[in-house]
């Protein structure tokens, strides 16, 4: 018998259709019922308008969309042999604001999703503090807005750079917010200082923490999450940044990638209409996000966890928490070393002179976000968006399950399966853009 479960609080809605066998999840298909058609909205629009439209795909990771969009347009310039110059300053500011958006996302996920869901699963009576996540996120977005003008829905990246012409006043203020955020994380989340946490190489050390993160770690072990939620042990990280490595990893074997092998297919969900499309690399499914990035970048703490617990739900959750610390450290370095000597933007040729196509890829909070654009005399002919949740939460057949389907198989209850589902950090609005 197939039973339906409505899922919300995942940036929108999804339904999971469970097939249980001997009180275990035998198979699950996933449907995303809402479709907006952002790609068709973009058709025939002036190419630069994409920088205002695509951030509105998603309220929580719109900044990643902005950056994928501007990279796609810059790649179209390059393919037309009219390469756009980006100053080191513009590159650094873009990376800083992208990282700050990831940090706000991870804080919200820790406090608004993972801690309440674990409390439900363990029947814990501990006090819930979801607004800690909102508070921390609001500090990250203050630092972000000093450069981008606002968050969400900024459009401050243009081909050739960034629109802001910041001075040391803004830089110093941003540094202050990042320090405040690190202090919050040390006091409220970790219970130890950032440097010590980042020097850990084994998850054994996490168990000693008397803090929110320590509580998450203990409850994950209590629920046996280190022994379940396994996907394919295949990872892909595609965005080029200084905080991660572009690679695909199968178990621990690294290989290089070419974005031309990324394709999509319609999701398989016989019980309902789903507007989602699964993303594949050379016809295979890959897990994306913090665990994938850590595997691609050989982060010793996460490699250690992976040796013990593979790609379990535990590994997935801890990888995202660890990445939060790593990104805070990276943001601090970026803002401290930000040189303001370069130009913010070097004006490229008018977009009306460009007839070309391009690809823009960034690492968004949940993994690679890819925008493909084709431009004719400055107008958009085709636009394609492939989001991280399309990689993680695809829906396919019993014989060839996607990462989330495989991870939920074998769960001893629907509740357990749903927690495993959420361990991927699901974004519904991005999936069916």
């Amino acid at each position: 018998m197939i039973t339906k479960q409505l899922i919300d609080q995942i940036e929108g809605e999804a339904s999971i259709y469970f097939e249980m066998k001997k009180d275990k999840v035998d198979f699950a298909t996933i449907a995303f019922p809402h479709f907006r058609g952002m790609e068709s909205i973009l058709k025939a629009k002036p190419a630069l308008d994409a920088l205002v439209i695509t951030p509105r795909v998603c309220g929580i990771c719109g900044h990643a969309h902005l950056m994928a969009s501007v990279r796609a347009i810059e790649s179209a310039y390059a393919n037309a042999n009219k390469s756009v110059h980006l100053s080191a300053k513009a590159e650094n500011i873009r990376e800083l604001t992208l990282v700050l958006e990831m940090i706000q996302n991870h804080f919200k996920w820790i406090y608004l999703v993972i801690m309440p869901e674990l409390a439900k699963l363990t029947n814990s009576k501990r006090t819930l503090t979801p607004l800690k996540g909102a508070y921390a996120a609001s500090i990250a977005t203050k630092a972000l807005a000093l450069f981008a003008g606002q968050w969400p829905h900024s459009s401050y990246m243009l081909p050739g750079g960034v629109t802001c012409d910041v001075t040391h006043l803004e830089r110093i203020k941003a540094q202050g917010y990042i320090d405040e955020l690190i202090a919050f994380f040390q006091k409220e989340s970790f219970g130890i200082d950032l440097e010590t946490f980042l020097s850990y190489t084994s998850c054994g050390e996490l168990a000693t923490l008397n803090s929110d993160i320590g509580c998450i770690e203990k409850e994950l072990i209590q629920m046996g999450m280190h022994q379940k939620g396994f996907a394919h042990d295949r990872y892909i990280s595609m965005g080029e940044h200084r905080f991660t490595t572009k690679a695909k990893v199968s178990q621990t074997r690294h290989s290089s990638i070419d974005d031309k092998y990324v394709t999509t297919e319609n999701a398989f969900c016989p019980s309902a209409t789903s507007f989602a499309k699964n993303a594949l690399y050379k016809d295979s499914y890959y897990e994306t996000g913090p665990l994938a990035r850590a595997m691609a970048s050989n982060i010793s703490m996460i490699k250690n966890i992976h040796r013990r617990y593979k790609d379990s739900a535990y590994s997935r959750v801890i990888a995202r928490i660890y990445e939060t610390a790593q990104l805070l450290d990276h943001a601090k370095t970026l803002v401290s070393n930000l040189s303001l000597d370069d130009d913010s933007l070097s004006t490229p040729l008018p977009i009306e002179e460009i007839s070309s196509h391009g690809v823009g890829i960034v690492e968004a909070p949940r993994g690679p976000l890819m925008h493909r654009i084709s431009i004719r005399q400055g107008l958009i002919q085709e636009y394609e968006i492939i989001t991280p949740t399309q990689w993680n939460i695809g829906s396919s057949s019993y014989q060839n399950p996607t990462p989330a389907q495989k991870a939920m198989t074998g769960a001893r209850s629907k509740e357990e399966a749903l927690f495993i589902f959420r361990s991927f950090d699901v974004c519904s609005v991005c999936t069916t853009h």
């Binding site: 409505l6 309220g59 607004l131 401050y156 750079g161 012409d165 004006t347």
Partner: protein, 302 residues
């Protein structure tokens, strides 16, 4: 109202139409979020714990005091297999106020384009009076903006909790929030006064109105008075205002000013075109050196 005990707190319900969740996430930036939420009982919210699940809410039993609707209204859209319009109509009956949150819920907005023939705001389809709650328009407060500024919703919910009246304009937007223009408080105002345009994007000097598409002088919004994330705004970071609080958002060619013979097609709100042209013609002849140079060079501060 003046609610004191938990039982008497006004019931707040937050539901969504066709949305990106941008208003939800913008609202989370509010500095006094915990204090504000403590004034309400949240019966359902898409990202926060509420008294009920959406499955309960979609049964359409009971009522609420304040209903927030985020997203464009699509008459065919279902959540949990129930038409969103059924849920909206049921709860809006008991609600004392219905807040259309964001430009999508107010006018159709960005996501009207998903199904332009049927999507709209709650009582406006762009600027035409049309929508599912037209029969109860007295209780509708439109908070347009893409997304809303957290303090706009903070203000509205605080006023309601204190039983203070929110006065609105003809588009049902609170006067205190939508009487200013985005231009007010813009750090580039002096360049606007003397008609000195920005030479390019990426500069702190120059006005973005003449070439770069800025809609600040035509847009009702308080963005340069109540700053975004308490620190900045689009124009302060060199991005033109796109007019996201107005019924015609989104327009096209958003980074470019539409001109006729190099004169902006749209002139500042309420200013006769002829007067504007006379004034700008004179101002442009002045060539004020101080305004045509860089304010300072970052390099000199190192």
């Amino acid at each position: 109202m003046h609610y004191e005990s938990d039982e008497l707190k006004p019931k707040l319900l937050w539901i969504q139409g066709v949305t990106c969740n941008g208003n939800t996430h913008s609202f989370f930036n509010l500095s006094y979020l915990p204090q504000l939420l403590a004034k309400y009982e949240i019966i359902y919210h898409p990202s926060l714990e509420g008294t009920y699940s959406f499955e309960d809410i979609s049964k359409c039993v009971g009522g609420c005091d304040v209903l927030i609707f985020e997203g464009s209204f699509d008459p065919l859209m279902k959540r949990n297999d129930v038409l969103v319009s059924t849920v909206l109509l049921h709860f809006s009956k008991s609600a004392k106020y219905v807040i259309a949150l964001g430009s999508c819920a107010s006018f159709g907005g960005m996501l009207k384009a998903c199904a332009p023939e049927r999507n709209s705001g709650l009582i406006f389809n762009e600027s035409t009076l049309q929508g599912p709650l037209i029969s109860m328009q007295d209780k509708i407060i439109n908070l347009s903006g893409c997304p809303i500024h957290p303090e706009w919703l903070g203000y509205t919910l605080s006023m309601i909790a204190n039983d203070q009246r929110v006065h609105t304009d003809e588009l049902h937007r609170p006067l205190e929030l939508y009487s200013h223009l985005a231009h007010h408080g813009c750090a580039r105002n002096e360049y606007f006064e003397w008609k000195v345009d920005a030479k390019a994007f990426g500069l702190k000097e120059g006005c973005l109105f003449y070439v770069q598409g800025c809609r600040g002088p035509m847009t009702h919004a308080i963005c340069n008075k109540v700053l975004w994330n308490e620190v900045s705004s689009k124009t302060r970071s060199g991005t033109p205002c796109f007019g996201c609080t107005e019924p015609d958002f989104p327009r096209t060619h958003l980074f470019q000013t539409k001109t006729n013979m190099s004169i902006p097609e749209d002139v500042p709100l309420g200013v006769p075109k002829r007067s504007y042209l006379t004034l700008s013609g004179i101002a442009k002849t002045f060539h004020i050196k101080r305004l045509e140079e860089k304010l300072f060079d970052n390099k000199t501060t190192d």
